[in-house]
Point group: D2
Chain length 413, copies 4
């Protein structure tokens, strides 16, 4: 962060957009807060850098980028004649800036490992409320927008919908840092096409091709990056490592770990625990990629448990599991056969061998036909869903939940 001395405005060098202005003091103070600085230590794409070595960018950078796009989008809407009060503008900037504040280490990869069944959005909400208390209520409008409780619906939709600033930034940024040019989208053009009709976010009809391409690009990024099978293997290896560590800690093994991580390994906390106990939330906020990866590295030398040390050694030294992926479920006997072989080759009990065979499904959809639809505004003022306005996109395929089955196991087999 660099200051222009004459008036203390802050600008940030961003390789993606050039320069980003920090538009006001509240935003600056939030960025300086330890909760936000913590996002510097949480990679946007978890272990994806094991496949795409440039993908080391963090939630910190993404959140600021999304805030920048929000600022541009609000400018466009203003130019198009939609009134946005100063407080609402600030609220929208706050909401997008903090939308990922609740992310834990390795982002989505461990979303359900440290704390059971708590999506990061819930944690973001909890942390924003705590920050709101600290900032004497200055985040109230931001929270309303974040929680979809603000009367101006389009502000919430800019934060979270199928055409939100979050997606625009992450597609652009992930494409930039992975080097996957297929993910490039016309961010600047899409933003110029945004509009409001009936209080809701819409896109002018002229932007239809850019939006078609945005939908396709997101689909491409899913299959080529987010669900890349080597990434799937790495992330599930990490999940198994934490399962094993938790098992050992509960069984009384003295395992190297930072104090906060150890606390979460020893206990199965749920959302009620965290919302009731601000100390616990503080502990959660101290865990990031560094705690996890440092532990994995140390555990790879741990001679008290072969399962843990083998898993950790494989991950640290990038001896990643083979991953097979297909549309149909895998045959039961095929899997059993692999399990048996793992036991034999690695000299493991059946229980232990379980850690070396991952069998799971992953699913995504390209476009969700629900309440967060992308709506297109024709020149005559008619509103229609993008899937109707576009004659290209195959709505059946786009809206179908696409489930794939995969298994991962050591390459030595």
């Amino acid at each position: 962060m660099q200051d222009i001395p004459t008036n203390k405005r802050k600008i940030i060098n961003d390789p993606v957009y050039g320069f980003i202005d920090i538009p006001r003091d509240l935003i600056f103070d939030l960025i300086e807060h330890p909760y936000f600085q913590r996002l510097r230590r949480i990679k946007q794409l978890g272990l994806t850098h094991l496949v795409y070595p440039g993908a080391l960018h963090t939630r910190f950078h993404h959140s600021i980028g999304a805030m920048h796009l929000m600022s541009e989008a609000l400018n466009i809407l203003k130019i198009k004649g939609h009134k946005i009060k100063k407080a609402d503008r600030e609220g929208a900037l706050v909401a997008i800036l903090l939308h990922d504040i609740g992310h834990g280490p390795f982002s989505h990869a461990l979303e359900h490992s440290l704390v059971k069944n708590i999506p990061h959005e819930t944690l973001s909400g909890l942390m924003m409320e705590q920050l709101n208390a600290e900032f004497d209520g200055e985040l109230t409008t931001g929270l309303e927008i974040f929680n979809h409780q603000h009367p101006k619906k389009f502000l919430s939709q800019l934060v979270a919908s199928q055409l939100d600033m979050d997606r625009l930034d992450y597609l652009t940024r992930d494409s930039f840092f992975t080097g996957v040019s297929e993910g490039v989208i016309g961010t600047q053009r899409i933003i110029k096409m945004l509009n409001v009709a009936d209080g809701k976010l819409v896109a002018d009809i002229k932007g239809i091709y850019s939006i078609e391409k945005f939908i396709i690009a997101r689909r491409i990024m899913y299959w080529q990056v987010y669900l890349h099978k080597t990434v799937l293997a790495a992330e599930h290896m990490l999940i198994r490592i934490l399962e094993r560590a938790r098992y050992l800690v509960k069984a009384g093994t003295d395992l190297f770990a930072t104090p906060s991580l150890k606390l979460f390994l020893q206990n199965d906390f749920n959302i009620a625990d965290l919302s009731d106990n601000s100390d616990l939330l503080a502990h959660f906020s101290r865990i990031d990629d560094f705690d996890i990866l440092t532990s994995v590295k140390i555990w790879s030398q741990f001679d008290g448990d072969r399962v843990l040390s083998m898993l950790c050694g494989s991950l640290i030294n990038r001896k990643l599991f083979r991953c097979e992926i297909q549309k149909e479920p895998f045959d039961y006997f095929y899997i059993e056969n692999i399990r048996t072989k793992i036991g034999e080759r690695l000299n493991l009990t059946e229980e232990e061998a379980r850690y070396f065979l991952i069998s799971d499904t992953t699913s995504n959809y390209t476009y969700h036909l629900g309440k967060d639809n992308i709506t297109v505004l024709s020149k005559s003022g008619k509103l229609s869903d993008i899937t109707q306005a576009s004659d290209l996109l195959n709505i059946d395929v786009l809206t179908r939940v696409n489930t794939k089955h995969f298994i991962c196991y050591p390459k030595i087999l």
Copy 2:
């Protein structure tokens, strides 16, 4: 063009790909030939620069760019184990380098104005044959490949098919110079995915998303650039100008024109004329964007014919016609009403007013299910059409010929 002194290799600075090597003497000599240098004076995108001011790039640059991609594609195929003889390699480079050599002024816009019913590919063939004679038969293999008569089918497919180097270059280049980022495709990745199976060009299955995006990007470029309605208006104004000029010249009016252009205005030549008469072909080769635009500019001051001077003045000073475009044919009375008003407002006879009302259709398709299909090679060696391999692309929509009706007329109405 710059020479590295030590060994006379030529490299060209290309803002799109960085540096392009001219790989061998024959290619260099062809580039130096007046027929090829002439392509410097034919814009790739006709009058598109009236809408996208950066789009001034030429067929010269595109042809060299496509040759560069051909060179990269052949390297990849070689690395994948497909034998390509030196002579075949040279032939493929020649064929792609010269594939547009027969283009007339303003490329597609005037394709049927100067010479009736002769597609540029036919003219390219004629000119390549003449060059082959001049170069003592050195282009024979190139001609075979260009004419799809070479035993290695994939070489011809690299020159002309739905996944050829022509398209890869023009999408990349047109997107670069127009600034329409939606046209960006993963050129480098697509080329890395090329392969040969059963003697035909295919793409490895891993490239499927890049190819999906390539098909979508091409569709976007059609609607956003190639068939942009202001471009349509400008190009049809130019066609009308040449019609009127031809009419006047035949009626004996002494109109400013370069000698070669005058010859083609005075006569209605056909393909037989050009193939029988190499002088005539030489005359054709002397006409480029400069003859046409200079004449249009002079004609805008011509006081012998109001129709011509008004049309030319409008084009030169960018007072372009309004263009309406729709899926259904326009109503007869709606059109007649415009025609009548034009006559009244501009004080023209019915016959003259005809020049100020353009009513036509334009059609394109996104993907053509025919002999030049894009074929995908699965890991198990199975071949399938891209529309089957991809579960996204709506084959009905993609392969449907998409026809639109448009009318253009002066904005003063």
Copy 3:
């Protein structure tokens, strides 16, 4: 140019900066004017595209780009607390938009061929005055700024000084279209560093490295692009062609030419002629790259004068002269020897041979220590010249006028 339907604001797709907004109606109307549209037909870099094939961009595009940077610079100055009245803002935009309106065909190459001893700035002034009359005085402030007569000196300096928006745009744009990455400068950063002190344009000290690099980049572009020896050869061939054509026309030869070009070939007009005679100015404004190049092409077939046809044929078919360049003057006998050989080989009289031997000098300086200095503002408020503030730049070298001698002659020797 594309319109966003909802509010008629115009945006232009620029491959260099993304989107450019046309900020107000006056600017839009000026862009629509035939004088400005004419800049579409004048290449920014003359014949440079014969070496760098992408360099086909025009004065039209450059002028709009410079206007865009002016708009950004004024925003920054406003943020830094400098008051700029609405009328002054508009004036500055007008002045930069029209600063090149007086350029003739092939920009600098023919600056002294068609009209003797009249720099394009003088012609720009003449044409702006004529436009001002047409626009009922709306350009008055713009003219004051252009003529350095406005009380806010920094506005004129943004238009014309050693750190003006003209240079920032042309370096960025020329680098982009030639593909010479050495010319890339930190445009965005330099603009963020602009400031005003004592009523003059300065740069904050933090921008010193970016300005050092800007000075170096300009120097590199001079030697690598603007004064590239093959470009020098081509441009001087064109100058000789016009000399010969003028000689023939005056001698009564009937030479193909557009009417306006013929008028300027037949007469030696001076600045008084053009300022007294608005018809003559109108004629001048009708001549652009197209008139010249079309004539050169036709003259290459002219059998009435071997000198003209040979020169034109060489230029059109890119058989460019060899160019030798050195710091010292060429030896008299060395030149005479070449001249004799040309006469013998080409069978020309001594007078005729003169056209085939160009012997001239070119000079440029990297930084001019005069009234348009680049001034740097330290944190304590001290002002100093960039050459003092920077400890890198060798002031002796930078300010020295760098003169080189060159000769060009046919490669057949």
Copy 4:
């Protein structure tokens, strides 16, 4: 890393260069080795990301990028007629790939904190020898080149000189990830200009402007990025943290740390210890950015020592010290006054306050006139130093060692 199935060639998606090929099995095996994978956990630019948030790229990525440039450079030299044996080619690739293998955590920032007085080059040599043993001598040629003992001097110069592939990659890469466009250099062009004369690496005279710009760009990156005062502050805070931790550990305090880090805190190892004891080298190789940053985070909560916890808290939460920098040494009493105030405000003893006041110098030079000069080859075959060949660069300034004095202390003062 992705495999093209047909022939097991590996390619890596690099956002900087597009795709990078892994050219041969040995290179692939070295990349897979834990020593090399470890570089994934060492940031190229230490704590620079606290100022430029994109600068998270690692030594892993840089080393592969430099190897890619080496491959291109060798191709160019081969085309220019210089014979390079297959074994020498492989050796050069190995040498550049492993040139940074000995880097410790946070690269240069901690180069002298963990192990005293051992530059990373020495450690790289030690680790390469160990790898050579593991790979049965396959790295012998690479080691010769790395150690400047190979008869083909130019190969060593491609690895380490003032125009080596290391610098070309790091300038390009650091500029890309920081977003500092001033650092952009014409990498591709410089490589095309490389040549060999008298067995040494030289640049063709045509590349002189690109090399001037490369030297300037490196200078800019020094002052704008590498020695940015906020980065200086952060890195020296980290050095002080490790000093304090070492002091506490030696005094018997039980401090959280990974086992390998603890070993290096407890002992002052020197180069002899590491070269004699391969176990110790293995321990060193286990310490990376993650050990350090995780410890700093935990220590920020440590209530056994206020000095350590305050320093760590400030670094983790980016409450970085203010940094003053100037050409002259700071006044003794000015510094003493700050020291006294720190003691008072933070309630620290004089000894403790020492940790909160950094007073040091930093020096760099732009160009070193010594044995690794950049030599330019004229067309006539004459060799000269770049500083003589260029009339721009001020040799006095360039070669002068530029020393600056700086002090850093908490902003609360």
